[in-house]
């Protein structure tokens, strides 16, 4: 396994960077056009005090864009991967608690968000997707060096 992994690792890192970075960039970009809705999406999780939820709703999209850009260009990959992984973990916890408490919300991951009809919730697929992205973030933390990267 050792030799094969050594060859594949830089390419896997590139792959992980582009997927996680691309998803974060898209997620942030789709939210900044409607920050009212972004804040509404965070409030709908009923997890944080209202003022903190609104603050996150207004600011998180920009952080997603920033981390996404860093991952795609390959700058500060280790830290960006870690931040990406931490955000994904937070999303997984937030979505799981919403599911467990029987809330009916859209995750608001790519814009949208807020209260929706109970039959329209997609908690399982949202959690599975975020677990996949969490894995990519963890991988980047441990193997930040890859192809086509600004990091040396």
């Amino acid at each position: 396994m050792g030799d094969k992994f050594k060859v594949a690792q830089p390419w896997l890192t590139l792959f992980a960077r582009l997927i996680l970075g691309g998803v974060l960039l898209a997620a942030g970009a789709l939210k900044i056009g409607n920050l009212q809705k972004s804040a509404m999406a965070v409030r709908a999780y009923e997890l944080l005090p209202v003022s903190l939820a609104n603050f996150l709703g207004y600011t998180l999209p920009w952080v997603e864009i920033g981390v996404g850009l860093l991952l795609i260009t390959g700058a500060l990959v280790r830290i960006s991967g870690l931040i990406g992984a931490i955000t994904m973990l937070a999303f997984i916890i937030a979505i799981s608690q919403a599911w467990a408490r029987g809330l009916s919300i859209d995750c608001g991951c790519f814009g949208g968000g807020g209260a929706i009809n109970p039959e329209d919730t997609k908690y399982l697929s949202e959690i599975i997707r975020d677990i996949g992205l969490l894995m990519l973030g963890i991988y980047l933390y441990f193997y930040p060096k890859g192809r086509f990267s600004l990091d040396k």
Partner: protein
């Protein structure tokens, strides 16, 4: 590039600086633009203490808060089902009713909320409220409410004043809609329609709730002290 497996250090630092700059500017801009504006023009019937909502029967009790977005189909349904009774409550001065026109669906929600506020200054808010829902497009931000459309809706309910026309054309209360949005965010309203009776939210998550059932809506208002 693949050969040396990386770019040079200057490019990397430049990218980091630029990305940080984008994030910081974006965050600051977002926080500032979502603060309440003290200089925004507000309609005469608006009270900052009531979340910048349009207040009808300001001295009556109990208080009913109504949060709608004029582009929200569920709000249109609510208006069709319960709007008649709500009108009756207002006309007979049975409650103080505060309307909070939300704008999270987009630009045409802002135009519609502005038009409703312009109509409020003509004492025609309730008629405009109904007319807007009746004219709601099936698609969000379809372009239907651009141009003179909202002015014509006003004319259709008998508003012909020059002041109203200026108000619509200048978007006099567009900045006020931002204040409503900020107050709504603080009030923890996460969907539309949302009704509060004396500060208590009617639960939308239950099946057959008050929003879709006129008998239950009446009962909820009665329980809140509407006689």
């Amino acid at each position: 590039m693949a050969a040396n497996n990386g770019g040079d250090k200057g490019t990397r630092n430049l990218v980091i600086v630029m990305v940080s700059f984008i994030v910081v500017v974006g965050v600051v801009f977002s926080l500032i633009s979502n603060r309440s504006s003290t200089t925004a023009a507000v309609p005469a019937s608006v009270s900052a203490d009531d979340g910048y909502g349009i207040v009808l029967n300001p001295n009556t009790k109990p208080t009913i808060d109504v949060y709608v977005d004029y582009q929200c189909p569920a709000c249109r349904a609510f208006e069709i089902i319960n709007g008649g009774y709500l009108n009756e409550v207002i006309a007979q001065n049975k409650a103080k009713v505060v309307f909070h026109p939300m704008t999270f669906i987009g630009p045409e929600s802002i135009l519609a909320a502005n038009a409703a506020a312009c109509a409020a200054d003509e004492n025609e808010f309730m008629a405009m409220n109904l007319a807007l829902f009746q004219d709601q497009s099936a698609e969000e931000n379809s372009g239907k409410w651009q141009g003179d459309a909202l002015l014509n809706i006003g004319k259709s309910i008998g508003i012909n004043s020059a002041k109203f026309e200026t108000c619509i054309k200048d978007g006099s209360y567009v900045n006020w809609t931002g204040n409503v949005a900020t107050a709504t965010a603080k009030a923890d309203v996460n969907g539309t329609p949302t009704i509060f009776v004396n500060g208590k939210e009617l639960d939308r998550s239950k099946e057959n709730n008050e929003y879709g059932d006129p008998v239950k809506f009446r009962a909820a208002l009665a329980a809140g002290g509407v006689k």
